[in-house]
Subunit: 318 residues, 2 copies
Amino acid sequence: MSLPFTTFSKDYLDEIKTSITKYVTKTPVLSNKIINSICGAEIFFKCENFQKSGSFKFRAATNAVLNLDSAQKKNGVITHSSGNFAQALSLASQAQNITAHIVMPKNAPEFKKRAVLQCNNNLVECQSTIIDREKISKKIQDKYDLTFIHPSNNLNVILGNSTVVSELLEDHTDLDYIICPIGGGGLISGSALACEAYSSSCEVIGAEPTNVNDAYRSLQSKQIEYNSTTDTLADGLRTNLGDINFPIILKYVNTIICIDEIEIINAMKLIYDKLDMLIEPSSAVAFAAVLKEKEKFKGKKIGVIISGGNVENNNLPF
Amino acid sequence: MSLPFTTFSKDYLDEIKTSITKYVTKTPVLSNKIINSICGAEIFFKCENFQKSGSFKFRAATNAVLNLDSAQKKNGVITHSSGNFAQALSLASQAQNITAHIVMPKNAPEFKKRAVLQCNNNLVECQSTIIDREKISKKIQDKYDLTFIHPSNNLNVILGNSTVVSELLEDHTDLDYIICPIGGGGLISGSALACEAYSSSCEVIGAEPTNVNDAYRSLQSKQIEYNSTTDTLADGLRTNLGDINFPIILKYVNTIICIDEIEIINAMKLIYDKLDMLIEPSSAVAFAAVLKEKEKFKGKKIGVIISGGNVENNNLPF
């Protein structure tokens, strides 16, 4: 697969960052001495759990809706998502006075549905199969002439996501690695583009649950692989790569570390104990990669993207 | 009581801020749409729970040890504290290669003792009475010719604390109020000095548990009052005002809001639910003041100082 576009320049990614600046939160970067000591490395947590809507996806959604033309803005947008992108697109659309329709599987967590409903009345429930999601989305899209925005396989979404790393590398220029969780591939592809543009030496590494390691296998086979199960706590990482983000990942990402379920829980708990932050399991996957590969990361400076914090506080896995 | 010194200029407080910059974390300021909507105001949480040693007291301790003369640095320092200042002074002294002796009551939380022991071998336990604390401190101080650093009633401690608000007002120039918890008076006096120097319109307001509202009563009687009980969850706020910080509070603070125990728990839980952060009860007191006095704060921009996050995660009050 070849890249459908050239590498983006720092200037271009800076423009993207500037254009969404007034809507998104510049999220804090946290460090903790005890965690550094446990890891034997310097960790810089980029805390997208403090982003609006509770995850980095607000950057993606904001960039996507800002890039609609006036007719598209007037008609509105639609997506299907079981979680963070649903909340992100609802909130980002509300901020721009754009109507958003959200298709969510019936079995999505109730607290995520409530979060969507707080700023959006157009929530439609579907069966939890991807076929039903797509069928219902298409029906509503056609009925109202909406623009479909895919949660991860959309260039404006990817470019919106790139701003996580643009911000991080602007303040921490000397990172050796940046570790991203991989689900649909939107975050890591955006991160890789920014890393390429902002740093000559930093490398983006992926972290993925072993149980749904389609990206790990795709990198090996050089074609998009699929998962036969969605059996992971990291509910944000159950999705698959797409034809827009995969070529970017293939070009810029060399390493994906596979993380077992117990390692996800341990990483989540360590963040909770030492940083007093509750992060979602999908976020913990990136930190778990450092804990798993201590030798590789020894003495290095590592940006770890905490992708989101949307977790049900009364239903923790530890 | 009159002020033993003149008001500090912005330039002077800027110098303090600059001198500790490379040691302390510039802590993030967080906002949350749902919390704003619940409060009917715009809240800017200054998150000292992400400060080194887990509380603002690291600023105080750092400024205090940096201001020692060379003989004092050589001999070392001592304090007595049941919590955050013990950790802060241990860590700040370690960073400057200064020996710190810490006197802690036997019944201080084990996790706080462990945190001290991680960077300090000179931990001495005492009975939990203030008389025993002071007696044992004095004995060790005399034996090693140490400099005693009081956790709150010390000018360099107060000036170190002022940097919380210097940072906050630098980034958020248009705040109407800043709400601080009051225990020993070190944070609110530093905050008031910074507010006076950095803003012509912002007002510092105190928040104190009703059960130990010595500061509230002191402000009314214009003399230092004492508590007959230490019966509050907010363990960091059980202490009393001192002769150095009280005149500052008397001059610059007009309002102290008293907070009941259930209100502390509710505020702590709301931060946990909406921001996914665990903060200590002493921190929650300041936020509880906004929730309690919604009419007063309606439509205002309010800085709320989250003073620390040192809480035992498996022993939450909710």
